[in-house]
């Protein structure tokens, strides 16, 4: 079975390479700043011993004060997993860097989060709606929709 890594140890590894990237970490995962998300993901992808080569799931959660993007990562090589999160506090123009250059599987999932929560993924080559049709008003999975 895939072994979930202890978030604190992974957070220390990220902090050693990228100081100020990690905001907090608890048993649910590592929260990183959205500015340094791309560097943190690249670090997790490349570093020996971590090698997170597979993005299982990418999703978004609306907490009213902020919108959170959650990344579930797995290493096929070492058979371990970690959860990375990032937050955007701007509800009008939320944006997070796209991880599509690291994991191509993020393509449709980032479009889904954009479609339902309205977070723009900067650097995504095809950032448009995927479930709802073009011209649909609003972002239906937000708490303040309806």
């Amino acid at each position: 079975m895939t072994k979930p890594l202890i978030a604190k140890e992974v957070a220390e590894k990220i902090g050693g390479q990228l100081p100020e990237a990690v905001v907090e970490c608890n048993e649910s995962g590592v929260l990183v700043k959205s500015d340094s998300l791309l560097q943190a993901c690249q670090f997790l992808y490349q570093t020996d011993g971590l090698n997170f080569d597979y993005l299982v799931n990418l999703t978004g959660v609306d907490y009213l004060d902020y919108i959170e993007v959650v990344y579930h990562l797995v290493s096929m090589r070492h058979n371990h997993s970690i959860v990375i999160k990032t937050r955007c506090y701007d509800r009008e123009q939320p944006s997070v860097p796209s991880v599509i250059d690291i994991w191509h599987g993020a393509d449709y999932q980032e479009r889904e989060v954009y479609d339902l929560l309205g977070i723009r993924f900067e650097g995504h080559p095809n950032m448009k709606r995927i479930f709802m049709w073009e011209g649909f008003e609003g972002y239906p999975l937000r708490r303040d929709y309806l």
């Binding site: 690249q42 490349q46 191509h104 095809n126 479930f131 049709w133 649909f136």
Partner: protein, 200 residues
């Protein structure tokens, strides 16, 4: 920034902007479909009002139509699995003489709408219905196709497929068992038997 990737595949995106056109078509369809289409009720007319001249022809035609429904090979959501189970050998739809599901709407005359119809899919369902040759019938299977079901107030679901198509038979259930579907089909046969070519 340069990212080392072992696969080094760049995704291919079409330069053609199809989504805008699709979105426009869906908006038009949604605006047009705010009221339910009345169910076809011509078959409810009294026997006496029928013309004597076409009655025998009606009887012959309806007998033929009644026993040769060719369903469209078409499923939308979880109800389709009941339809598939109904078509498979345990329940065996071929007992009723209609086991051949056609993959082309031009060869089918019964559209079973099995499951939730979203507004994005509604345009495709309407297109399939329009491509079918007359005479054609529509069977709405399950709560979602009948009335929208639990998603009736949703932002993306058509509240009943009778917004976009005239429905002949509604089969309730969530999902209906294959027996219910058969019962709906048998009801449809009774309806076909009472129809007249004057109205089609």
């Amino acid at each position: 920034m340069e990212i080392e990737n072992e696969l080094n595949i760049s995704p291919v995106y079409s330069p053609m902007e199809l989504d805008l056109d699709e979105g426009r078509r869906i908006e038009v369809l949604k605006a047009k479909s705010q009221e339910p289409i009345p169910d076809p009720d011509g078959w409810l007319e009294e026997e006496l009002q029928r013309s004597v001249l076409v009655t025998t022809l009606d009887a012959a035609l309806n007998w033929g139509r009644q026993w040769s429904c060719w369903p469209m090979f078409f499923g939308l959501a979880c109800c389709s699995f009941e339809m598939i189970a109904g078509a498979a050998l345990r329940f065996d739809i071929s007992r009723f003489g209609m086991e051949i599901m056609r993959a082309s709407p031009r060869q089918a005359d019964l559209l079973m709408v099995t499951g939730t119809v979203t507004w994005k899919m509604a345009a495709a369902v309407k297109m399939i219905y329009d491509q079918m040759a007359e005479p054609k019938w529509v069977l709405a299977m399950g709560s979602c196709a009948t009335s929208g079901g639990p998603f009736a107030d949703s932002y993306s679901v058509v509240p009943g497929v009778n917004r976009i198509l005239p429905v002949d038979v509604y089969v309730p259930g969530c999902p209906p068992r294959p027996e219910s579907l058969y019962y709906g089909i048998l009801m449809l046969r009774e309806k076909i038997a009472k129809d007249s070519i004057k109205r089609s």
